[in-house]
Symmetry: C2
């Protein structure tokens, strides 16, 4: 059993109302792996990096149980680079630079050592490549989850729907759910999206929390009200990593356990936004995680004594 995570490992340069960074470590698979590693230590990473990706970052992830057998490195090229600037509300951002670099050559291969993974998370990248990974799996996983974004809905909707039809769980944000379904109501959107294939759907609403849909059931996890959201980059991937790490650790895909996974993902996301990049995920220890989870319990816990 293991958890496979596919996605980007990259550099980001970020500007928020609170400050700006030079090139720092980023990428969906980086955030997801750091987050998942708090719960589960057998992580099979699939990505592509350039010669500029720091060895110490690779070593740090390896020491957390992350395998690099599936991470292709092209020595004389550069890693994917993204630069963006957040608006004051932190919910919207402008992309300033997208240098695909090695990502143009991404041709993900599932190594033999990765076969048999029971939990698979496909971060947001080209739908055709997400599909390519699924098609290489020799063993049917217990759960395949995927993320995607509006960009692919604009330019590759048909291919995107093909992948969506092959996964068990889709994670998108609210505007993506609306675009994908053509429905404004998230309840109706969820129904239409589940009809496309995924038995489970998570709609992420940023500072407004996340919804988990399955059959007739719906669960809502709030985001923790924070004094400062310093940098939202990677929050969705961190959420996904915490969620998938919890499922892999407990090896349980019941709706009840997924609810707990959504709370855990939200807790991990509440950490990562407190600093630029994935740094906060590196510093956070198990006690911090448990304390944060208890804040979620306090936040939503109530007794009802209605007669």
């Amino acid at each position: 059993m293991s958890l496979m995570i596919a996605g980007t490992m990259a550099f980001d340069a970020i500007e928020t109302p609170f400050g700006k960074t030079d090139k720092i470590i980023g990428g969906s698979a980086t955030y997801a792996a750091w987050s998942a590693s708090h719960f589960y230590k057998e992580i099979k990473q699939i990505s592509i990096i350039g010669g500029d990706f720091p060895d110490e970052e690779i070593e740090a992830l390896k020491s957390r149980g992350v395998s690099f057998d599936g991470v292709e490195k092209i020595e004389d090229e550069k890693s994917f680079f993204w630069s963006g600037k957040y608006h004051l509300d932190m919910n919207t951002r402008d992309t300033l630079i997208t240098d695909l670099n090695v990502l143009e050559k991404f041709n993900p291969q599932v190594p033999a050592t990765y076969q048999g993974a029971d939990y698979v998370f496909l971060g947001n990248f080209m739908p055709s490549l997400q599909l390519q990974i699924i098609e290489q799996l020799e063993h049917k996983p217990k759960l395949i989850a995927m993320d995607t974004m509006n960009f692919w809905m604009d330019i590759a909707m048909d291919e995107l729907k093909k992948v969506i039809g092959k996964v068990d769980l889709l994670m998108v944000n609210d505007s993506e759910a609306r675009q994908l379904s053509g429905e404004y109501s998230l309840v109706k959107a969820a129904e239409k999206i589940r009809a496309m294939g995924p038995k489970y759907l998570i709609i992420k609403k940023g500072e407004h929390g996340a919804l988990l849909f399955h059959e007739e059931k719906v669960f809502f996890a709030p985001a923790l009200p924070l004094e400062v959201v310093f940098d939202p980059t990677g929050a969705g991937d961190t959420f996904a990593g915490g969620f998938m790490g919890h499922l892999a650790k407990t090896d349980n895909i019941s709706f009840e356990n997924m609810k707990e996974g959504v709370i855990i993902g939200s807790a991990m996301a509440s950490f990562v936004v407190e600093k630029f990049g994935p740094d906060k995920l590196k510093e956070t220890n198990q006690d911090d995680v448990i304390n944060r989870l208890e804040r979620f319990v306090d936040l939503v816990n109530f007794d009802l004594n209605v007669s």
Copy 2:
């Protein structure tokens, strides 16, 4: 002991993406009283109406335990009239018509029969008149709650802050909390607003739920994900009515009981948006309310088994 509710009783004409109405019954005190009457039957209404306000509406409210001693009626004038059009997202709206009519003469008086009320809700209207009501109270209520809006922050901030300094609980929406405090983070905004006087603060986030702040504590109640939000008019007043009705019924202003009140207010709001005007509040019975409350429990309830 009783619950005093002050606010408008009016006509609205509403246009949403789902349809439009002619003049229908509206007003903050109308919605709040209908909602509160599901939980508590000794309601002291303070408002002003014209000769055009239908007798059957008055009788219907009276039959729910609402006193009209404090509702002034000016026979040969018209009731307050508001007309608005909602955008597709239902979170923003344009005001098309505001005919103040009798509201220009509103000079609220607390009748002798209303003195001794333990729970007071001041709906959104002129801060100077909200203050005038508070100053007429001969007995200190257990809880005075008020609503307001950005309009008064624009034109009467000083007077508004004077009232806010005299109430126990303020209810505003998120953009109003930001405007009032000058803080973008709702956690910081809450801190600054509570420093203005109110020991309790409720920040309403529409479809994204509501936050209750008190001392170091924070509680979050989600909004129920609905297939259709047909007409959001009065949702905030309905929330307030359910919340205050529950406090008055239980005669308990502990934080734990306020949490239950916030859930009850959210449940009542989830009903009212399903139809134009307050109609849904009239049809809803106690079983409906209990069933809806159970959906809230299901929506946020989770077990945490973290080691």
